[in-house]
C-alpha cells in the first residue's frame, strides 16, 4: 500500500515543476547555512566551515541528483527526455518523418484492414454453442462432393449413426408471402424441430419449435429473424401469435431469433418454418433437397463421424437402387460457413503482410541513412560518457515514436479502408458472409496492431543501433562522417533494396496472375451473348400451382405481355438461369445398354424463345416451338457436352432418351445446342438436358428478356407489367445477366482479390522505386568527391551515368531475379484462385520484370543525372 503510494507520488513527479526544484535548492541551502553556523561556532575558519559542510553533504549537486532520482522514476524520466528529444529530432526532419510515417501507415492500414476480415471470418467463433462440435452432413456423388440429402436418407442417418448427439435438417428456400400490396417473395428456411437446440441458439422472444412440431399433421408455425422482426413488425412483441401467410398457408408466429444469429449455409432467411415433410419430394429417396446439421458426441472426432456416415451410406447403397453411387460426408460447420473465402483471405493476408514488410524495409533503410548521418553525434555522445544503453535507448525511443505515429495513422485509415472494402462487397455476397456484419475495430485487431508495432519498432531500433556500434564508435569521430563509412552501409542498404524489389515482384506477379485469371474468366465462352439481357424470377400464384394447363397459360401471357413492352426484342423462360447451376436428372439413352447406372445430367425446362433470346448457337436440328406442348410426344434438346458424352460417334438428333425410372416415357432429341455456361464460370460445363417448358412446366421460373438498350432501367417496368396480370404473381431477383455473371462467386472472389492484390502491388511498386531511388541518391551523395575526382581526371558525363546506373542495374537485376524465383513458388499459393493461367505464366513474369525494371531505372535516373552534373571543382573543394 505505502509502496504504491510512493510510486504514484513518484510518477506524479515526472511532470516537471520549477517549484519543487526551488524548494530542494532552498532546503539544501538552509542545511548548509545551519551546518556552517555550527562549524563556525566550533571554531573553524569561514572557508573551512563551508568546505566541511559541503563535504559532509557529499557535494551539493550529487546530493540534489540523489534526491531527484528518488523524487521521480529515473528510467521513466530518461525515457520522457528521450521521447521529447526524439520528437524534436523528428520535427527537425519533416521530410524523413513524413515519409517514414506515411509508408508505415500504409503498411499498417493494409494489414490491419485485412486482418479485420480474417478475424471476423476465421478467428471469431460462430454464434452457436460450442461451434467446433457442429458439423454439416452431405451426400456425395461423383460430380458433387457436397450434395443435399434426401429425406428418407436423413431419417436413416439420424437413426443409425453412433457418433452424433443430434441430427437435424434444413433447407433454404423462398416463400411467397401475402401482403397488403400483393404477393412478395421472401427468403426463408425450413428446419426440423430440433434445429435451433442443436445449434444451441434460443429465441430472444417467444419460443423455439417444439419436438414433433415438424410432423406433417402439426399446425404450421414460424420463427422470424431479428431483422425481419424489426423490418416487418417494427420490433413489437405483439407479433407473437399472429399469422403470416407463406406459400398460401397460414403460419403462427412463435418466436424471434437473436440479433447476432446468422446461418449462412441456409442463406439469409427472414422466416424459419418447421419442415413438415409434406411436399412430393420428401418421400422419394432420389429427391435430394435437405442439408444435414449434427452435433458430434463428446470424444468423437470428425474423422470417426465421417467414417460412420460413410459406412451407413454404404449400407443404404446396397439396400436401395436409388442410392447407387452415393456416399456420405461430414464437414465441420465452420468450414461450411467460411471455407469458401478462406483462400482469398489467405492470399490477401499474404499480400498485406508483404506490403507491410516492404514498408518496414523501406523505413528501415530511411532510418539507417539517418543513423549514418548521426554516427558522429553518437560518437560524440559516447565520448562524453553516454552509456551504450542510453544511446541505444535513444534509438529505441525514436523508433517507438515513429511507429506510434505510423500505427495511429494506419489504424485510422484502416477504419476507412474496411468501410470501403465492405462497400465493395455486394449485398449478395454479404448474405453469404453474415459474419462480416458489424465489422469494426476490436480488441483483437488492436492487439494485432500492437504486435506489428512492437515488431516494427524493434526492427527500426535494433538495425541502426547495431550499425552505429559496429565496427567501432570512435571511427565515427575520427573520420568526420565522410568517405568510407558509406561502403559498409552500401553493402547493407543494397541488400535491403534487393529484398524490397523482390517483394514488389512477388506482389506484382500475384496481381498479374489474378488479373489475368479474372480477365480469362470474364471472357470464358458463355455460349450466349450476356449483354443487354434483363432477367428476373417469377413465382406464379399459389392457387394455380398444381394445374399445369393454367401454369402454362399464365407463362404464355407473361411472355407475350413482356414482349409487347417497348424496348424488348425477345423473351424466353427457363426454370433456372445460366451461371446459377441447379437441378439434375438421371437419364438413359434408348437403344444403349442400361443397367440402372446414374447418368446424372443438368436439367432445365425452357420455352420456345429461350435459346434465341440468349443467342445460343444451334449446332444441329431445331429449337422448341410453341407447338411443343402437352398434346405432343415429349421432345428434348441436348447440349454439345451431353451429345459427346452419351452419343459418342452418333447423330443424336431423332434418337430417343428417357429418365432412368422404369415408367419414364421416351423423349425425342430434336436439337443440339452449343454448351451454355449453366454452372460456375470456372468449372467445365456439365452435360445438360433441356426439356420443353410447355410439356413439363413449373410455376416457379426465370424470365430472360433481350432488350434493344438499357436493360437495367427496363427491369422495374417488366416486373410491374407482369404483376399487373395477376397480383398473386411475385417477381423477385431482378438483375441484368451481366450483373449475375459479375456476382457469381467465381468472378467475385477473383475481382476482389485482383483489386486488392493489385492495390497492394501498385503500392509495392511505388515503395520499391522509392527504395532504390533512396539507395542510389544516398550513394551519389556519398560519392560526390569520388565522382568529382573522376571528372577532374577526365571522365565524361556518360561514364558517370554508366557508373551510377550500373550500380543500380545490379541491384535491380538481383531484386527482379530473386523476386521472379520467389513468385513462382508463391504463385502455387494462388492456384485455387487462378483460372486459365499457369502459376509460372511467362507472359506475366516478363511483363512484371520489364515494368519493374523500367520504373526502377527511371527512379535511378534522377540521382544519376545529379551525379553527372557534379561540378568537379566544387566537389573537391567541399570538406
Amino acid at each position: 500500500m505505502k509502496r504504491l503510494r510512493a510510486w504514484l507520488v513518484r510518477l506524479a513527479g515526472l511532470w516537471p515543476a520549477a517549484r519543487r526544484e526551488r524548494e530542494l535548492a532552498d532546503e539544501i541551502e538552509s542545511h548548509l547555512q545551519m551546518h556552517i553556523a555550527d562549524n563556525l561556532r566550533s571554531g573553524m575558519r569561514p572557508e573551512q566551515a563551508r568546505r566541511d559542510a559541503i563535504l559532509k553533504l557529499g557535494g551539493v549537486e550529487p546530493a540534489k541528483e540523489a534526491y531527484r532520482d528518488r523524487r521521480t522514476v529515473p528510467v521513466l524520466e530518461n525515457l520522457m527526455r528521450d521521447a521529447r528529444y526524439a520528437i524534436r529530432q523528428l520535427r527537425k526532419n519533416p521530410g524523413f518523418t513524413c515519409a517514414a510515417v506515411t509508408v508505415l501507415g500504409l503498411g499498417m492500414c493494409a494489414s490491419v484492414a485485412v486482418f479485420a476480415f480474417v478475424d471476423a471470418t476465421l478467428i471469431k467463433p460462430l454464434p452457436y454453442r460450442d461451434p467446433a462440435r457442429l458439423v454439416g452432413l452431405f451426400e456425395t456423388v461423383q460430380f458433387c462432393p457436397r450434395c443435399p440429402l434426401s429425406y428418407p436418407d436423413y431419417l436413416d442417418w439420424k437413426r443409425l449413426n453412433k457418433v452424433f448427439t443430434a441430427v437435424d435438417a434444413f433447407e433454404g428456400t423462398g416463400f411467397t408471402m401475402r401482403t397488403n400490396s400483393g404477393t412478395e417473395m421472401v427468403s426463408g428456411a425450413q428446419v426440423t424441430a430440433g434445429f435451433f437446440r442443436t445449434l444451441g441458439v434460443s429465441p430472444v422472444l417467444g419460443r423455439d419449435f417444439r419436438a414433433g412440431e415438424d410432423s406433417p399433421a402439426a399446425p404450421r408455425t414460424a420463427m422470424l429473424s431479428y431483422a425481419a422482426w424489426q423490418k416487418r413488425y417494427a420490433g413489437k412483441a405483439a407479433l407473437l401469435g399472429q399469422t403470416v401467410t407463406l406459400n398460401g398457408a397460414p403460419n403462427t408466429i412463435i418466436g424471434v431469433l437473436p440479433r447476432d444469429f446468422h446461418f449462412a449455409a441456409a442463406g439469409e432467411p427472414e422466416f424459419w418454418t418447421a419442415l413438415h415433410a409434406s411436399n412430393s419430394c420428401y418421400p422419394q429417396r432420389g429427391c435430394h433437397s435437405l442439408h444435414g446439421l449434427a452435433r458430434l458426441r463428446d470424444g468423437i472426432s470428425l474423422q470417426t463421424a465421417d467414417a460412420n456416415i460413410k459406412l451407413i451410406a454404404g449400407e443404404l447403397e446396397k439396400q436401395y437402387s436409388s442410392n447407387r453411387g452415393q456416399g456420405g460426408s461430414v464437414v465441420s460447420l465452420t468450414e461450411l460457413e467460411v471455407g469458401h473465402i478462406r483462400p482469398i483471405l489467405t492470399v490477401l493476408l499474404c499480400g498485406a503482410g508483404l506490403l507491410l514488410l516492404i514498408a518496414c524495409v523501406n523505413v528501415t533503410s530511411l532510418v539507417l541513412v539517418r543513423a549514418e548521418a548521426r554516427r558522429r553525434e553518437m560518437a560524440v555522445r559516447s565520448a562524453l560518457g553516454g552509456s551504450r544503453a542510453r544511446l541505444v535507448s535513444q534509438f529505441v525511443t525514436e523508433a517507438v515514436v515513429l511507429v506510434a505515429a505510423g500505427a495511429a495513422l494506419g489504424l485510422v485509415s484502416a477504419k476507412w479502408l474496411m468501410r470501403l472494402l465492405i462497400g465493395l462487397i455486394g449485398p449478395d455476397q454479404m448474405a453469404a458472409m453474415p459474419f462480416l456484419y458489424g465489422l469494426s475495430l476490436n480488441v483483437r485487431m488492436l492487439a494485432f496492431a500492437v504486435a506489428v508495432s512492437i515488431g516494427a519498432a524493434a526492427l527500426f531500433s535494433i538495425t541502426p543501433a547495431w550499425r552505429s556500434f559496429s565496427p567501432d564508435l570512435r571511427e565515427g569521430l575520427a573520420e568526420g562522417g565522410r568517405g568510407s563509412a558509406g561502403t559498409t552501409w552500401r553493402r547493407f542498404g543494397a541488400n535491403l533494396v534487393v529484398l524490397e524489389l523482390a517483394i514488389a515482384v512477388v506482389l506484382l506477379v500475384g496481381a498479374g496472375l489474378l488479373g489475368k485469371s479474372f480477365y480469362r474468366l470474364l471472357h470464358v465462352d458463355m455460349g450466349m451473348q450476356p449483354d443487354r439481357l434483363a432477367t428476373l424470377r417469377i413465382a406464379e400464384p399459389d392457387s394455380i400451382r398444381d394445374n399445369n394447363a393454367k401454369v402454362v397459360a399464365l407463362a404464355r401471357e407473361i411472355v407475350s405481355r413482356t414482349a409487347s413492352l417497348p424496348g424488348v426484342e425477345s423473351v424466353g423462360i427457363s426454370s433456372l438461369l445460366p451461371v446459377m447451376g441447379g437441378n439434375t436428372m438421371w437419364i438413359r439413352v434408348l437403344g444403349h445398354p442400361f443397367h440402372g447406372e446414374h447418368n446424372e445430367v443438368g436439367y432445365r425446362q425452357v420455352s420456345s424463345g429461350y435459346f434465341t433470346t440468349l443467342r445460343a448457337k444451334l449446332l444441329r436440328g431445331r429449337y422448341f416451338t410453341e407447338a411443343d406442348d402437352a398434346s405432343k410426344p415429349p421432345v428434348v434438346i441436348i447440349d454439345r457436352a451431353l451429345a459427346e458424352k452419351y452419343f459418342p460417334g452418333e447423330d443424336p438428333v431423332g434418337r430417343q432418351m428417357a429418365y432412368s425410372g422404369a415408367d419414364s416415357p421416351p423423349m425425342q432429341v430434336v436439337g443440339i445446342v452449343d454448351d451454355i455456361k449453366e454452372g460456375a464460370l470456372d468449372e467445365t460445363t456439365w452435360p445438360t438436358l433441356y426439356v420443353a417448358f410447355n410439356q413439363d412446366p413449373d410455376d416457379y421460373f426465370a424470365l430472360v428478356v433481350r432488350t434493344s438498350k438499357g436493360e437495367r432501367a427496363l427491369l422495374p417496368t417488366i416486373a410491374g407489367a407482369i404483376r399487373r396480370i395477376d397480383p398473386g404473381i411475385s417477381t423477385f431477383d431482378q438483375r441484368t445477366m451481366t450483373e449475375r455473371i459479375d456476382n457469381t462467386t467465381a468472378a467475385y472472389l477473383r475481382r476482389c482479390s485482383t483489386w486488392l492484390v493489385g492495390g497492394f502491388a501498385s503500392l509495392a511498386l511505388l515503395l520499391g522505386a522509392a527504395g532504390i531511388y533512396g539507395v542510389i541518391a544516398y550513394s551519389v551523395s556519398r560519392r560526390t568527391r569520388e565522382i568529382g575526382v573522376r571528372m577532374a581526371l577526365g571522365a565524361q558525363r556518360g561514364t558517370v551515368y554508366r557508373l551510377i546506373l550500373q550500380e543500380a542495374g545490379w541491384l535491380i537485376a538481383a531484386g527482379i531475379g530473386i523476386g521472379l524465383v520467389c513468385s513462382v513458388a508463391a504463385a502455387s499459393l494462388l492456384h485455387g484462385l487462378l483460372f486459365g493461367v499457369r502459376p509460372a505464366d511467362p507472359e506475366t513474369l516478363a511483363t512484371v520484370a520489364v515494368l519493374l525494371a523500367i520504373s526502377a531505372l527511371l527512379a535511378c535516373y534522377i540521382p544519376a543525372r545529379r551525379a553527372a552534373s557534379i561540378n568537379p571543382v566544387e566537389a573537391l573543394r567541399a570538406d
Partner: protein
C-alpha cells in the same frame, strides 16, 4: 573518522522516524546531527543520503513536511511524524528488537545452544 561505522542499509529510515518521534518536528540538518549524537558519534552519516531518505518516507506517508523557522531564525523545512509513521515506527522497532535479540543469542558466549 575511519573507525566510524557507515549507516546500515535500511536502518536510516528507522533512525529518522525515532529521532522525529523523540524530538518533535525537526529539520533535515537537525535530524542528521541528532542521529550522530544519539549514536555517540559512532556513526558516519553522509548528509546527502538523508534527504532522499526523508523524501521516501514522505512519499510513503510516514512523515509530512512544512516550511518553518529554525531556532536561529532561519527558514527551514520541518518534518513531523504522521499517524502512519507512528505505526510504522512501532512495527519496525519491534521487528528490530526481535532481530537483535535473536542475533544476540547467537553471538552470546554460550553459543546460543539452549
Amino acid at each position: 573518522m575511519n573507525d566510524k561505522t557507515d549507516v546500515w542499509q535500511g536502518t536510516l529510515a528507522l533512525m529518522v522516524l525515532k529521532t522525529i518521534e523523540t524530538m518533535g518536528p525537526l529539520h533535515g540538518y537537525g535530524i542528521a546531527r541528532r542521529i550522530e549524537q544519539t549514536s555517540g558519534n559512532l556513526l558516519s552519516l553522509n548528509y546527502g543520503t538523508l534527504y532522499p531518505a526523508l523524501l521516501k518516507l514522505e512519499q510513503e506517508g510516514a512523515i509530512a513536511s512544512a516550511w518553518g523557522v529554525s531556532e536561529n531564525n532561519r527558514k527551514a523545512k520541518f518534518y513531523r511524524l504522521t499517524r502512519g509513521g507512528r505505526r510504522q515506527l512501532a512495527k519496525e522497532a519491534r521487528d528490530w528488537r526481535q532481530a537483535t535479540a535473536i542475533l544476540a543469542r547467537f553471538l552470546s558466549p554460550s553459543g546460543g545452544v539452549a
